[in-house]
Symmetry: D3
Subunit: 300 residues, 6 copies
């Protein structure tokens, strides 16, 4: 990751987009090749043959959809509807977010690849698309972040609250996430307003990327690429977790962590080198993504 | 209306379309000009200003939609969901039906124009789009008819039953309707399998276009263009109601009715000429429709 | 009924009420005595003892409510919610309509008395409050009429369409109804914009009070007090049905009907005197109503 | 039909069953042979193959159910839930009604056979089970009648009101219906408290079997077996429609009708012999029913 | 805090309030001045102008409500409905709890002030009212606690379980909370039966105020005013956290903590003075509350 | 527990059960004596008397059900419905799982006994049945595990995801649990694919039984009988927690733990003997269970 990393926490103020969203008229992804989407359709067809009871869900989420973006939007809209936005309103917001920016579509694919690669319990793309609340929560956050960057802060905050209530995952809409992220189990993950997570990071449940104090400004962690954060770890303040490092389960991290080390404890201390180089599997897979201006791939 | 009128009752058998529906990727109507849709958007914006409480409904049905076809689909899907098809499944079926055949889109517009023209209680296109169950029922039937013609009879019958339950309007999916139809009040309207209704017909509530006996084949009425049928009238068997005629409320019609007459009574008898020529207002308006191959305009 | 009867069809234009409704802070009916409400609570308590399965419904509609107005609003809101207005929005609109004008509260009570009096199948006030769609439809219409008189025509039309869809009863919000009305069975009842129904009228199902032609202005029937209209009767145009008369089932009425006669047929003809004087039972019961300015009691 | 026909209108008063319903522990129909149920399962499996989108509905209503009784209960409970009873409460009441009395199970099968036999638009048992609101309404009424006979009048009335609201069919729970009944289209059918309909009767939509006056006691029609009643006919008072007769559409019947004649008009008059003997097709099919004490088969 | 602090854990047993709740007839807050409510209305109006899509939610929760108490009740009822209590039943219980005791109304306002003051991500009262599940969970608990004090233990436990399921926050209904409480992020907060939290306390997510063993009696922590508890901290047993102290994230506290210190670690040890005096901001704001007998302000 | 404990993690592959589930026709538990179910019915009846508002919920879950298995299925189906399976589909799957294998029915009863015994806040079986999401989540998992053993992995995974979303409890369907388990508070409990929990174990919230690395095979903990695991503890890898030991709150366990000790800390170390012998209360109660082949009792 050579490119300078933008860390400004004030997106959105410059928005000139009016605060209304017309549903996108074109739901195609317009990709030359889309192996993840192709695989999903085969997996869904096989799932129906094995379990006819799943036909409606598979049909609604995968087989009847024109693109992966529309599929993810449909799945999440069904889970978040109510409490201020209807299913139709959500569908429109999510489709708009996913289809307006090809980088978001890339990130959805990259996340699915990362989950299938890294989670021994997942052997299809269908599993995370249909069943993983970590994928649902992060994908919904990507839409909230899109709204936040447009300056639509109240709507983004509403979406955040829906995600928190539905999935028990609380991510401030301004927080920024790279590509190839695995939120495993996901329950009670919290990330604050100025948190940054780069590419190819795996985060277990009950992890906090939190702030300290009441002041505004950059006050949440930066997690560099290739990092693995164990269950229950709390990382607090504007600290930086170096590339390829590992944070042990239950650790409390209050200071910067170098690259390629393992830290554990309350408070966390370095106990050794990370046992492997960074899990860069996603890089290979991302090369099949087509958008040349993929924001996250060049530095989030 | 010079073209011969096809009355075959066996559409669909030749279908080679597989029985699955992918949601259309392109929801645009692709029309050069669309004055009905333009007017609807102004009317919806005005309605919200007068009644903020309607913002969500107007946003969901009109302002957030990319085309009239999508708007009608959204409105009807919201009303029919449940009992075998979800809102998302319905949306997909309706959008596909409305966008696959430009003639259906023409008919939706033509119906809205006819209602606004003929019903003194309607002074906008928004009223029927949002509030008229006659328009909702007939527009839903147009999608059921589309499915029927594809040979998807079971699905079409399901849609028929949903319409009957939601709107108390029971139209066999094989029944054929022209353009510019007003179903006023609509409660308890019944039309059988081989019924044909040409263009510019106004039908009040509790009207039956029924069959007799158990035999198959053409056994329901043909209603020529420009006809007005009063509340509670029963028209039974393969009789033909001549162009521009009127059927009095509560009449029972068991025989052919000539053109441009008024019939009343049980059984109905001719009591005079129709008081006006056929209400052909729609013709003028239809000229702004763009599809040159409008099926209904040339004889249903 | 000595007082002149206002027949203007243009209410609402003069409205100065802003088009928003704050939920009423005070839900009491503020009546000195309220025998109908008292009886309802005893009936509901008895119903729960006989059928514990009904506890939630009785609790929600009757036992937990502070007034009859709130009870009717709760019952109807539960039945109409969806399609543009939430249950909470409906509750607020209905409570406001019922509590703002004591005459509406009088009418609700008077209707319940009339139903219990006249329908052999109803031996409590609880039956119509809980189970009669005719009472639900007419009570909902009274709220739509309240909105119409305030000039909130779009919202009133939305309410009309909800009533038509939920109950298969289609009453234009401008139509005016007196007190002590029984809509028996109610399915497919239709009343147009300028229809007027005075006090103590009983109307069976499939009755139409319809207009003719496309012109605006007074074009629907006036039904004087004490009238009984049989199932399926169609009354069309600005005709007047005289006090205490009866319209036979299935009749089509196109001309004025004198007082205290019975008419039948297609078209309807006088066949005799009405077999009884007008069913004025409600008058006695209405005397226990407290509001001295009861609009409908003095001529609608 | 040789056995005397009981016409007492006072069922239920003698009930000693406590007013609570435990869900039946055994949902089997315990029939030696059940060709209707066997056919339904084949039809449902075929329907899914043709339309995968219907898998959930077919699975829920047919393929996953242990008996026809449970299937009908599931279908109707899904349509009636809300407004005072949950889906689970309804399911329990309906299953209890259908499984407690084998005659009710016979009637459900007999009705399905009659519909498939007589309606040219129905070529499977699946069609009426899934899609016909006439079958749904009458089957739900059979459960309401079961409750009424147990003396649970309030609950039966609640069920009546749910049927009226969902299907626009209003049948008093005390009304009695034989086996092999076709309610075609069904919208706005009304039958009063003391109405009796014997076996093998076909009734079109908008038919009224109504009473006159406010007195209690037998005051609604008796319809003998094999009768056909056309759309919109009104039959009023304690009149008897003789075996195998036909009532023309839109007729108003105020007096007894002999056997095997056709009557039409307002008021109805005899215009000839019925064109066929009674439609006794069901008799053959009913012979495969197993319960020897089938109530309706021996005189309702 | 000079007043003796009641710690009895046996409320409710002496209740003489009958176990039924009539909906309050008067929903006004009856406050001389209500700056929080006034501000909320301005904020809601501004939010609609920026995001018309939020009009329904804002209207339903804020603009259409007669008081803050009714607004909070509406918001929470919408989120908790189902699984044993309907939205209407919840609304009634919540309104009754909030309006019966002015101290509860004070606490709702005080909490909103505390959140806006202390959370850099919240710059309006509208944010927590609409979007913070910590505020929703604690406000719902305040109603459960009201029921518990009345001796309605089963209903209070039902409410607890609904809160746990909807918000992943599990507070025993007997636990007592002061005013000015911030539950930040809130996921997985747990507080046991005899836990006590005084005024002006901030608690992050995954905090446990737990008991030890199976014995009854006081067995959960007491948290004095001004305390801050970091994410993931576990405080177990009848220990007391002294006024103005801080508990570090991830700490496990098994013993009393003095006033104005900071403790961290597993098990937690004192590492220094608290970096600031207690966050007593709420005190100033509470002075605008009007009820002189505010229970929590004088010692919970 | 003398019998060898099977630890194979590959159930299901050998399934010959077709992937469809017919609803069980017989919902009886067929037990000679069922003291838990008897007690539940008394408790439910008492609860209704104290709180009539709970009548519907108690009726639906307890009083109207034919067996405990059906009661638990009804409760959980109501909570999980949506997102891919309807309430009716869930009911069928859960009833089938609970009634097909008597050991599962035993486990449901054993868990209820354990909760009532060990949780001072629970003094009835009704409390956990109705209100404890830990009981709901584990009981739902037992059905998912049943499906997994049949080789229906996709359906089991769907159920897992529903449990995770509804209850914030994430248990892989292959994980195996003994009898007499208390999941207290339960929020954020996570157990991986090869985790094994023997009989009579109590687990607080935020506990993780997690794996390490990406390899397949046995990689999650084994928790022997009688163990107590405190809130927030993380146990990672194929370690074994010896019989009757205790894991302190917030501990991180990465190595085997001997029998009858207490461990605490990050990482956890032995700090003493467990303060009591194993909580073997369940053994006594289980003796009233009737199935002689209780799988879990002989080694899970």
């Amino acid at each position: 990751m050579n490119t300078p990393f933008p860390t400004s926490s004030s997106p959105g103020g410059e928005s000139s987009v009016p605060h209304t969203t017309r549903r996108p008229a074109d739901l195609s992804a317009h990709r030359n090749a889309d192996p993840v989407w192709d695989a999903l359709q085969e997996e869904a067809a096989r799932a129906i043959q094995a379990e006819p009871i799943l036909a409606a869900a598979m049909d609604e989420t995968v087989l009847g959809q024109p693109s992966l973006e529309a599929a993810v939007a449909a799945r999440i809209a069904g889970k978040l509807e109510g409490h201020g936005l209807t299913g139709a309103q959500l569908l429109r917001l999510l489709e708009t977010a996913y289809l307006s920016d090809p980088a978001v579509g890339d990130a959805l694919r990259c996340d699915l690849i990362a989950i299938k690669d890294r989670d021994p319990a997942a052997d299809t793309y269908l599993d995370p698309l249909m069943f993983y609340k970590g994928f649902h929560a992060l994908s919904a956050h990507r839409a909230a972040h899109f709204l936040w960057k447009q300056g639509r802060h109240t709507l983004a905050r509403l979406l955040q609250s829906m995600i928190s209530e539905a999935f028990a995952v609380d991510i401030h809409p301004a927080a920024r996430f790279g590509c190839g992220i695995l939120l495993d189990h996901a329950t009670s993950f919290v990330a604050g307003e100025t948190a940054i997570v780069e590419d190819n990071v795996s985060i277990l449940h009950e992890v906090t990327l939190g702030g300290t104090g009441k002041e505004h400004g950059n006050r949440h962690p930066i997690v560099r690429s290739g990092v693995l954060i164990g269950a229950g770890a709390k990382i607090l303040g504007r600290v930086e977790i170096g590339q390829g490092s590992r944070i042990g389960a239950g650790s409390v991290v209050l200071a910067d962590v170098p690259e390629h080390v393992t830290v554990v404890g309350v408070p966390a201390e370095v106990v050794g080198r990370a046992s492997s180089s960074e899990p860069s599997e996603c890089m290979d897979h991302c090369s099949m993504m087509q958008s040349s201006d993929f924001e996250w791939g060049t530095g989030i």
